[in-house]
Symmetry: C2
Subunit: 277 residues, 2 copies
């Protein structure tokens, strides 16, 4: 009986422990960006290193990834270190190294969570269900776009062939709201949720409506859901909403939410992004 | 002529390089919290280590601090390492160690910024000027409260002597909006702005209106202002606004903004906070 081929996401984040207790990975052509890998797959791979480590306790609560330098096509090495283990939390530091240079650093907090009083203060976006929002084909030149099914309710990829307004006097809004899932479908877990936190196209594209070099410098994710809640999502699309707050002197920030179709907040995330104008 | 005594904030974040190129600091009674130091002063001290390092280039752009364990009254040691230096950004990793254990980790991105097209997408809060908002005396049992002048336009410290509603059916809102400055006044800089990003009382206090053990686990800050813009603020109060988005299974998140009186967004910040119910 032939083996079921691995999902491309699992292939992309796969790591092998070496004899020095480091993890060896390899970039995946399926998740290539314009230059280097999709930032979300790098985040998922760094998180995966801590998840795979035999010393790991609990589930992901927080993840910060700093994109320190370019990652070239090929192998890389990740070191993951439990810097502190407490009764209910564990703190991790990770580094991704390639060709003798550090290309990314990350920190993660894992927690053994227990049920308490809970509440959500922000509202679920007003949006039609996924089945009523058409799938938006994304530009074919970016490989990783093909790994996601995206249905934009608002704020999709602008058509750069249409000239933007000559001045910035129009009140633009950079909010994107979209249903998104892995393509082909894959059950949601912490690693895929981490990657989905980075699927939002650079807000500067929406604001300026012209091609602008841009790249994430640092991203933080807070996981609000537990593994059972993520497993219960199965392969359903999740709802992402992202917006910029401020653009200045070559950097802008982005804040985003990821919701389940049954209106649970799965993750909140922020990033600061370089842009060249 | 007697020397001008140092501001307590500068004393609290002061570091001395030791013979191993580490920095030695000491907790400050003025910035003590209920247990251990105020998280904002720890963040400012970790940022200060990178700022003081002779290899440092550029100005702070992003800072993440992970509060890994308790910090006891007394000395501590910070190591700061430039993990990657690029043409316009530099990535740092810091660790705060005390008694052989790591009590905090941090990462920072510094950047050489240059002027570009800029824009702010979120609105300045509707709030009276600082002079028209009364100063709120904060509980005397927390030392660090005395180091800030706080004028709450909304969402001040609740009076725990007043019994909260028996159920959670009331629609509470955890937004706090306040004018805040160092006490005594001190010119704003990156370190004091980092500390101000953590002055917001735990959102669970506002939501549940009863004393609840709570502590920040991880905080990220994006600095939107440059050093000249911060220096131009002088000792004026800045406007902070914070709110929670989600509470679940022992952890909630908080998102916040810090504005100048002339309506410039100086920083945006997020944190994830442990709570015990």
């Amino acid at each position: 009986m032939p083996a079921v081929p691995a999902h491309p996401f699992d292939t992309a984040i796969a790591l092998q422990a070496d004899e020095h207790a480091h993890f060896i990975g390899h970039t995946s052509p399926a998740y290539a960006n314009m230059i280097g890998p999709f930032g979300g797959i790098t985040a998922a791979t760094l998180l995966n290193a801590a998840c795979l480590h035999p010393a790991r306790l609990g589930e992901p609560l927080a993840l910060t990834v700093n994109y320190a330098g370019p990652v070239a096509d090929g192998p890389f090495r990740i070191s993951a270190r439990a810097v502190r283990t407490n009764r209910s939390t564990q703190h991790w530091s990770m580094e991704l190294e390639q060709g003798g240079a550090i290309a990314a650093t990350a920190s993660a907090v894992f927690a053994a969570r227990r049920e308490t009083w809970s509440a959500t203060e922000i509202g679920f976006p007003q949006v039609p269900p996924a089945t009523e929002v058409p799938i938006n084909p994304m530009p074919a030149r970016v490989a990783w776009f093909k790994q996601y099914e995206m249905r934009f309710a608002e704020g999709g990829m602008p058509d750069f062939r249409i000239a933007p307004p000559a001045d910035d006097s129009t009140a633009h809004d950079t909010t994107s709201t979209l249903w998104v899932r892995d393509e082909p479908p894959r059950p949601l877990d912490f690693a895929s949720l981490a990657a989905i936190c980075d699927v939002f196209i650079p807000r500067i594209f929406l604001r300026r409506r012209r091609p602008t070099p841009a790249g994430t410098v640092s991203m933080s994710i807070y996981f609000h859901a537990g593994s059972e809640q993520l497993a219960a999502q199965g392969t359903q699309p999740v709802l992402g909403r992202a917006r910029a707050q401020h653009f200045r002197a070559g950097y802008f920030d982005q804040t985003a939410e990821v919701w389940s179709p049954d209106r649970h907040l799965l993750a909140t995330t922020q990033q600061v992004v370089y842009y060249k104008e």
